[in-house]
Symmetry: C2
Subunit: 171 residues, 2 copies
DNA sequence: ATCTTATGTCAGCCTTGTTGACTTTCCAAG
DNA sequence: CTTGGAAAGTCAACAAGGCTGACATAAGAT
């Protein structure tokens, strides 16, 4: 099983050396190390404010989809409502997020960032984007296109749906 | 600050549209969703065995660098010795990892996977590689090269050092 | 002999995930 | 109009896996 990729590479006329276990292992380790860098800068800012990564995620997606319901956010974040609720409660208490009762369906709560919340979102995403932009610039447009392709192919189908729904609604 | 990329794109003659805030945000969200997929399959296996992601990381890097010391593992994983120790202790108790006192320096402990440990490592990395290989195959070799380039550029320099040290010592 | 390093361990704390049980609100189907 | 069920919130309890601080031990280095 572990040597499956090598067998494939042998059988094919194409150059499938990029599918060897070794190449794939490098990709796995790259993901591990890169994700640490990916979260490092926001993490530092969050710590100053007494928040964690969970708060960042909530803030990010509320910013991206203002007025989203709690249920929708749950589906995107993939956590339990109890986990999300704890985070949302503190954000609402601290005046970073506003929760408005739905018009059509008054059971639903629609979530929005307040000015303060938007300011923190800005600060966090500025930090994260700066590293990302440096990486993009260093790697170049072709590499970036490949980067995105591989990441999309790596997602669970349901997450891919959420991803596309978000990017389709880009301004 | 947030509009910096747009300004850059305007100023330059090159096509720097891939550096816009919008493109970078998509990359950020792709990282988030992809990382979930990246860990999903091993997580399922680990749960069956009563382990977590921390155990997977330890097992992975002990497999990759057999005989590594605790200190080296700490540097790679970027956690405290107390955190790592808790994980290592359970792996040693369960007979997945062996800790041998160093020859040259008897303060050091060199870590190795037992047969049982290697078997779990195999199972975990098979699962993770399968998804990765599917993503690689779907995206193609050029995309994969770009994927790796961007990830490397995203790492903290120290992590990049660890990453390269590992991949240089590939068999 | 003393300093430093590598490791291990105890205690305690925090964040963030989980389950389970229960309530409130309120839309919608009967 | 009643009732079933969905959406949301809350409480309690727990676990994993981070963290700090303090301390012990062994052993290399000075």
């Amino acid at each position: 099983m572990a040597q499956g990729a090598s067998a494939v590479a042998q059988k094919s006329g194409e150059n499938l050396l990029f599918l060897t276990d070794d190449q794939i292992r490098k990709g796995i380790e790259a993901m591990f190390f890169a994700y640490r860098g990916f979260t490092a800068d926001p993490d530092r800012i969050l710590e100053e404010q007494g928040y964690g990564r969970a708060h960042h995620r909530a803030i990010h997606f509320i910013h991206r989809a203002p007025g989203t319901t709690v249920n929708n956010l749950l589906a995107i974040l993939g956590v339990t409502k109890q986990s999300l609720n704890r985070v949302l409660r503190s954000l609402i208490e601290d005046g970073l997020v506003e929760s408005r009762v739905g018009n059509r369906d008054k059971r639903e709560r629609h979530l929005f960032l307040t000015e303060t919340g938007a300011a923190l979102e800005q600060k966090l995403s500025d930090a994260q984007r700066e590293r990302m932009r440096a990486a993009y610039r260093a790697a170049g447009p072709v590499a970036v296109a490949g980067f995105r392709q591989v990441l999309e192919a790596m997602m669970d189908p349901e997450m891919q749906r959420h991803f596309n729904r978000l990017t389709d609604s880009a301004r």
